[in-house]
């Protein structure tokens, strides 16, 4: 199927009324949780996973993807109006979006965020369409050693880029990998770390892990958070349209942000949070008057918002064509596919074209829906943000428990959420990244299987990782990433 045929096929698939409804539901729900600080796309997708058992895998994926990029829109709303990032991706948007709101330009800031998100998504879709066939063809050339090396690069990149203490990132990834070992070993059938608990034979429940680490920990941290309780509304929404000067200022940041986001989204292991941070620092670096940043510069909203949305779209490329999730949310979506008995990978484009092209087309339609929906919805989001957290969080807890319970019908999983929630809360206090833990957990079994296979093929010779050009490339990149901070520290010392 050529790209154009595929795209037409996808549009035909998505415009079926039933699929359209799930796409719509997904983006509305995504916006909703994005606006609600504390419940990110991660928690929402975990909550929705069980519900997707009742619908077709295509509709399920389209809905969950809608939640994912819908949350990027919603996250910007809370960042601008409340200086509370609804999602980690939109944390950067608070830097200039909130000052804009304080200057009485909340409407313009929201409009900028929406328009940038839309442009970013559209460019992301374009890149995804152009890249997909190529990536899936390239992927068939991948052997076990290449897969293992690539996933290790992904983990190293995720735990070193943008963190002050790489050791803490590595520790979380390692802990995640270790937790991924729990359960029955696929190769030998041995039970590892189950301690006689039959509930652990299939390993730790992914939904319970995600809910405990993110949902429960966020709730505990926010119950007595004064920012969360006193949601004042002094928001000038009358003027939405940006001035000609604003428009002129936002166009090139949008394009640069989209390019940056598309690139980093497609790399496994990085993702949209990193892209938005990078876009912001790039805009500030090349600005003629960098001192305006942090005081309500429209470029500081336009760049990051287009970057995180384009990254959110292109992140589907490695997830679907290689079976390698670029970030924890992608890992969760990958889990959802596997639950439905679909193995993402090089063959998916041929085996399940309706899945791939339907999803791509749904991105376009979903983003269009978001743009049309969001401008009139702003009033509703503002009203919802006024619900005190007092009333909101007990309900969130009950829904979270039921969401976990509905996966397997075991009370054990709810108990696990409590235990994992405690661990997640302590991790957040000590500033360890639970997202990296989840990434390690999801990739662990895949890495182990491929490593074992690679060594089996090479008869125990580690040179297989250097003899195969693809694997060697990843190994070199990994080593470079590991040595980069050492080199930087050495140079800093040499300077002073």
């Amino acid at each position: 199927m050529t790209t154009w045929e595929g795209l037409l096929f996808g549009i035909g698939f998505v415009t079926q009324p039933e699929v359209l409804i799930y796409c719509f539901l997904g983006v509305v729900l995504g916006t909703f949780v994005g606006v609600l600080p504390g419940i990110g796309a991660m928690a929402a997708i975990s909550l929705l996973l069980p519900i997707t058992y009742y619908i077709t895998p295509e509709a399920a994926l389209i809905m969950l993807a809608g939640v994912y990029y819908g949350a990027q829109y919603g996250g910007a709303v809370a960042s601008i109006l409340l200086r509370l990032p609804g999602t980690p991706q939109s944390a950067v948007t608070t830097l200039d979006g909130y000052p804009m709101a304080q200057n009485g330009r909340a409407g313009v800031a929201l409009f900028t965020a929406m328009a940038s998100s839309f442009v970013g998504s559209m460019i992301g879709i374009l890149v995804l369409v152009l890249l997909a066939n190529w990536l899936s063809r390239a992927a068939t050339a991948f052997g076990a050693a290449d897969y293992a090396a690539m996933m290790i690069l992904g983990l190293v990149a995720a735990s070193t880029i943008g963190t002050a203490r790489p050791a803490k990132g590595f520790a979380m990834v390692t802990l995640g990998l270790l937790l991924g070992c729990i359960g029955t070993d696929v190769n030998s059938g041995a039970q590892r770390f189950t301690f006689g608990q039959t509930e652990l034979l299939d390993g730790i429940n992914l939904v319970a892990l995600a809910m405990g680490l993110f949902g429960v920990a966020e709730v505990i941290a926010n119950v007595r958070n004064p920012d969360r309780q006193s949601v004042a509304a002094r928001i000038g929404l009358r003027r939405l349209m940006p001035s000609r000067d604003d428009l002129r200022r936002m166009i090139s940041p949008m394009l640069r942000g989209s390019a940056l986001g598309s690139f980093f989204g497609a790399l496994p292991g990085t993702g949209s949070t990193l892209s938005s941070f990078l876009s912001y620092s790039m805009e500030r670096r090349i600005a003629r008057r960098p001192e305006r940043f942090g005081k309500g510069a429209v470029e500081g909203v336009a760049g990051p918002e287009s970057a995180n949305n384009s990254a959110a779209i292109t992140a589907f490329a490695p997830t679907l064509t290689l079976g390698i999730p670029g970030d924890p949310i992608m890992a969760l979506l990958l889990g959802a596919l596997v639950i439905h008995g679909i193995q993402p990978g090089p063959m998916m484009l041929e085996a399940r074209p309706e899945m791939f092209w339907g999803l791509v087309a749904s991105f376009g339609i979903g983003n269009l829906l978001l743009l049309v929906l969001n401008l009139p919805l702003i009033g509703i989001w503002v009203a919802m943000l006024r619900i005190p957290f007092n009333y909101l969080y007990p309900a969130i807890l009950v829904f979270l428990c039921l969401g976990v319970y509905s996966v397997r019908g075991l009370s054990f999983d709810i108990m696990a959420v409590a235990g994992i929630g405690l661990a997640g809360y302590l991790l957040a206090i000590a500033k360890f990244s639970p997202a990296l833990l989840l990434l390690g957990f999801v990739l662990g079994p895949l890495i182990e299987t491929n490593l074992r296979r690679a060594f089996l093929i090479s008869r125990g010779d580690p040179m297989i990782f250097l003899e195969r050009p693809i694997a060697a490339g990843f190994v070199i990149a990994t080593v470079a990433l590991l040595l980069l901070p050492v080199w930087k520290a050495w140079r800093r010392r040499a300077h002073s």
Binding site: T174, I220, C401, A430
Partner: protein
């Protein structure tokens, strides 16, 4: 300012966890060889790595000071207790009973004083939960407490 306790405790805890996992795996699972790895190979490797990383985090932190973290044991206890209570009571008290009790317990640490709003909230969330999960999603769960 005080010593960087989160990193010290966190690092040591991870080191202990890693050492424990590595030793356990080495004792009870077959290591195999590089050519044909057994079920113990990967866990031992990871446990050892976690042990080292834990030390790398904890040891430099001994000489470092940091802002004390904000911990709220009471809030954490109430929220976690609510989840445990939900898990234990779901089959006995049914969806409605378990939800009501869970909301009441969970609302304990909320800054707003008084009991009336807590009871109203418990009733409201219970109705919503039964409507969404039992009526809407047709989850197979008893709604009411078993009287026998």
């Amino acid at each position: 300012m005080q010593r960087d306790w989160p990193d010290i405790f966190g690092g040591l805890l991870l080191a202990i966890l890693g050492a424990g996992a590595a030793l356990w795996a080495a004792m009870y699972y077959d290591m195999g060889s590089l050519r044909r790895m057994g079920p113990g190979f990967f866990p031992v490797l990871l446990g050892a790595a976690l042990f080292l990383l834990g030390l790398v985090i904890a040891l430099p932190a001994l000489a470092r000071s940091a802002e004390p973290p904000k911990i709220e044991p009471a809030t954490a206890l109430a929220v976690l207790a609510a989840i445990v209570i939900f898990a234990l009571s779901l089959s006995r008290l049914g969806l409605a009973g378990a939800t009501a009790i869970t909301v009441l317990v969970a609302s304990l640490p909320a800054p707003r004083k008084g009991w009336v709003w807590r009871i109203v909230l418990a009733l409201g969330v219970t109705v919503l939960t039964v409507l969404v999960f039992s009526v809407g999603l047709r989850m197979t769960l008893p709604v009411w407490p078993r009287l026998s």
